[in-house]
Symmetry: C2
Subunit: 147 residues, 2 copies
């Protein structure tokens, strides 16, 4: 029943490869939609996480949006220049920087959400709602078991 690939199996039978392939394709599609607003996928993730209105530290944010710390710092620099987000030093722990979303960021985030939702609707249409939900459930469980 449990059946990992043999050593001479084609690469397409490896879970790691299938995940990379699916991720690449779905991400490419999403990127294409978000390009209407000239925003990379990572910035949408950042805005979405911050749109709860709470302050999030850089470390917390880096984990949440799947970016390394230095990469996030530089991306946040750009977003601050674009006045989408702003930094506030955490008064409780001054090593930390709390990130907040601006009004402009919120407005952009709403437009991006709408693009992202429309993409997922498109996937559900061609792939099926049942498959989509089942896939999400399995992915969540995989992520859970990997930690």
């Amino acid at each position: 029943m449990a059946k990992p690939p043999k050593e001479n199996s084609p690469i397409t039978e490896h879970l790691a490869y299938l995940l990379a392939q699916a991720n690449r394709e779905i991400n490419r599609q999403l990127e294409l939609r978000l390009s209407k607003e000239g925003v990379p996928v990572e910035q949408w993730r950042i805005l979405k996480v911050l749109s709860d209105g709470n302050g999030h530290s850089m470390g917390e944010l880096a984990d949440a949006v799947l970016l390394n710390h230095p990469t996030l710092t530089k991306m946040i620099d750009r977003m601050v220049s674009d006045t989408l987000v702003y930094r506030v030093q955490d008064p409780k722990d001054r090593r930390k920087v709390l990130m907040f979303i601006s009004d402009r960021g919120k407005a952009l985030c709403r437009r991006l959400n709408s693009l992202a939702v429309s993409q997922e609707e498109h996937i559900v249409e061609s792939y099926g709602g049942k498959s989509t939900n089942e896939l999400k459930r399995l992915l969540e469980s995989l992520i859970g078991s990997a930690n």
Copy 2:
């Protein structure tokens, strides 16, 4: 039944995000294993595709290993320096370059396969063989429906 996320849903409910997260985690684990041989995941993919012994053009290879053409060209440059693969101009169509794996590349590929298989066995152990197979099936089907 079909239930795409609402616009205010957390990002963790988006398929695109779950795929990115799972891919990142599994890839990180695989990278860690392959680092015993000092080889990035992409080079393992290249060697694995070429290990059928046939010549593969750069374009074909780029698609198969999920890399853009210029990135592949530069990675192949390094692998040629390491004498893992070699280039041959396609006699049928001299615009093309056919890539072949060397004996040294084959030997390395065998060691890498063993590391990769052991990773997937580890996943099957903690995640379950049934879930793994079901997830693979769904991913294949998603990739199919996205093209």
